[in-house]
């Protein structure tokens, strides 16, 4: 009996001793690979020469080759450069949108916990309101009201992606608010702002970081969706959604590379963000676990 118990304790110990390190190392490796891939995409977007986007009617409809990795479109524009520029635009939009969303989520989530029941009720109602409308519909609405264009899309993404994260932050903040040291802090006369800054934010930072990263793929896909349906950007701008919607016209003529390669590139970018987000979460979670 004791032996059995001892065995299982030992097994537990070895697992807890080995598992986190192995786990962390692997996560870190995957995370770095995904980040490197993303950096490559971004650098490609930065460094490629925009002159390749000029119209060259004698080079149109070329299939992929070493000279044109992704082929060329019906105006002879290099598809690789267009896709990279488009992805860069998507990532920039995603960044702006995700950061704004995360900020809104943080402010609302913490305010919900700090300012009592009335504030909480209003904020919860607002969150539910935004959650009840599909992202894309709300996004289109906001983008349209803001007069379209890049600005409209960024504002639209920023204003529509916060509710899920805000709920999460609110729940965590509520829990913190009830914690003894926060109660003590309040009794000692610390201001609400001080509590938010010194007690809440440091605790919520891991959640926020993970939430922020996981918002990215969402924002990027939605940017692609909005440009796909032709809202916002003029159709000759390199944006991934525009490129994909153009390619639909050439399906019946068998020019597969116009759709498949940009689609795969978008997929790679979105997947990379996804992987980074989930592995960051694992790393941060295990740290929390260790601290306890």
């Amino acid at each position: 009996m004791t032996r059995v118990m001892f065995d299982s304790v030992a097994r537990l110990q070895t697992r807890s001793a080995v598992y986190p390190i192995d786990y962390k190392r692997r996560s870190l490796l995957i995370l770095l690979t995904a980040a490197a891939l993303l950096m490559m995409l971004i650098m490609a977007g930065w460094l490629t020469n925009p002159d390749a986007l000029s119209v060259q009617l004698d080079q149109r409809n070329l299939p992929p080759s070493f000279q044109h990795l992704f082929g060329t479109d019906w105006l002879g524009r290099d598809m690789f450069v267009r896709v990279m520029k488009g992805l860069l635009l998507s990532i920039q939009t995603g960044l702006a949108g995700a950061v704004c969303s995360a900020m809104i989520a943080a402010v609302l989530g913490i305010a919900s916990a700090l300012f009592g029941r009335q504030a909480d009720r209003i904020i919860t109602w607002l969150t539910d309101l935004f959650l009840s409308v599909p992202h894309l519909v709300a996004l289109i609405l906001v983008a349209f009201v803001c007069g379209g264009g890049m600005k409209g899309i960024v504002i639209g993404i920023a204003l529509t992606h916060w509710p899920a994260l805000a709920r999460l932050i609110r729940a965590e903040a509520m829990q913190l608010m009830a914690a003894q040291y926060v109660q003590v802090s309040r009794r000692l006369g610390r201001s609400l702002f001080w509590i938010a800054r010194r007690h809440m934010l440091p605790h919520l930072l891991p959640q926020l970081t993970v939430g922020l990263i996981l918002l990215f793929p969402h924002a990027i896909l939605h940017e692609a969706a909005v440009t796909f349906i032709g809202l916002g950007l003029p159709p000759h701008q390199p944006a991934i959604g525009i490129i994909l919607s153009e390619s639909m016209r050439y399906l019946s003529s068998g020019m597969w590379w116009l759709a498949v390669l940009p689609g795969a590139a978008l997929l790679a970018a979105v997947r990379a963000f996804d992987v980074i987000g989930s592995h960051t979460k694992r790393l941060l979670d295990s740290q929390q676990y260790e601290r306890l």
């Binding site: 399906l251 019946s252 020019m255 979460k281």
Partner: protein, 542 residues
Amino acid sequence: MLNMRCAQTMKQRSILLLWITVFAVLASGCTARVGGSAAADRGRGNSLVIAVGSEPEGGFDPASGWGLYGSPLFQSTLLKRDNDLKIVNDLATDWNVSDDGLTWTVHIRKDAVFSDGQPLTAGDVKFTFETVRDSASAVDLTNLKEVRVEEDYAVSFHLQQPQSTFIARLITTGIIPEHAYGRKYASRPIGSGPFLLKQWDRGQQMIIEVNPEYYGEKPGFEQITILFLGEDAAYAAARAGEVDLAYIPASLSGMNVPGMRLESVHSVDNRGIMFPYVPSGGQTPDGKPVGNDVTSDPAIRKAVNTAVDRQGLVDGILEGHGSPAYTSSDGLPWWNERAVIEDNKPEKAIALLEDSGWRDTDGDGIREKDGRRAEFVLMYPAGDVIRQSLALAAAEMMKKVGIRIIVEGKSWEDLEQGMHENAVLFGWGSHDPLEMYNLYSSSYKGVEYYNPGYYSNPAVDRWLDKAMHALTEEEALVYWKNAQWDGQNGMSAAGDAPWAWLVNIDHLYLVREGLDIGRQRIQPHGHGWPITDNIAEWQWKQ
């Protein structure tokens, strides 16, 4: 965490969706190559299935524009154009214009009956023109003062002012029956044309059959089904052997469809760059800005006209299915061949620009004059791929001569807002010379989409007015031609060049082998319906 997980599954779902899309793309790319021959030997009967364009949503009422493009099918007109665009009688047996040009008298045939058996008389003609005038829709008949019934089969039109283009109204206005015209007419047309409407399934198709009462030569087919399909769907239907004739875009012209042949029909369906003609600073009555300081310089407009490689645009963007455009009416009876200029001459354009003071002083590749850069905005309707392609390609061509064109895709609302101060890629093309008047006459400055650049030249105006007020179209032809270029003045590229016309787009149709669609005339703006102009002549080859 629940929300996070939820978000993650959602993401996974959207990624899955993306993959499905990618595979669908691959799959359809592959399947497009098989099929086709299966039903190739369909047809050869008395009926025909065609896909020629969008549904006439307003129905088949000439008072709301039915028949402006293509044959009115169910109605017949007083006059018509033959395949050479010459004017011939249809319902009319004889017509003349009074010496002052104010009274047009038309005698009509006595054997014409509506499809309900009632005879077609002068009263119906009077009723038709009054209805069309009062409906104030697509057709402008404000110049028509009154219509008088002279006899049972003679009618006279009294105009406010002489108008040689009034004849186009006699050519396009289908005669409607006074006794059977009502609210439901648009969906249940009764007329004296070669066909009857048998069935109309909104959003899908219409079926027409031969009108046994028709006075003219009977059509070669007893029944024709017209499918309302988009260009891609029409192409797919042609591949599947489901249609005998389909309109297709130039991008699909390279594909070989077994059992079908490609017919390319010349057109005046033109595309060109409209330049604001006056310097900036003006305003329309409703406050839109007018004028552009760069395009108001004739050297810029002429340089664009000279440097642009029109044939290159035809080959590169229209896959060769088109022709260079030099005016708004290339190939039509009122077209002036002398208005054709030499293009694809960048060095000539550069010399022109240098001579008028446009020089690249700061070495950035763009010329300047008086501190102003040679750059302007060219807008195109964002939904139109051909115009987008033309705009981008033209902008690329202008880089060589040091003119920077900033291409912007806009919605039609935004275009209307900015079309008086920016260049716009427009498209026109009509079988009515009135269009030329509307585009270039100073009296049409800023009226709807006509003359948005505020072009005006008194010499051109004089020719246009003379043409307009001529008694007959023949007499007017000389004046129309002179308005384009009379040796000194003109609104073509040889003269003031307020436009840089680029291309005429050939209309492409896939036609089943053995189907004879007659000799097609030069088609107006609009791909699809105009091919029905001579539908009554179509037949299987012996």
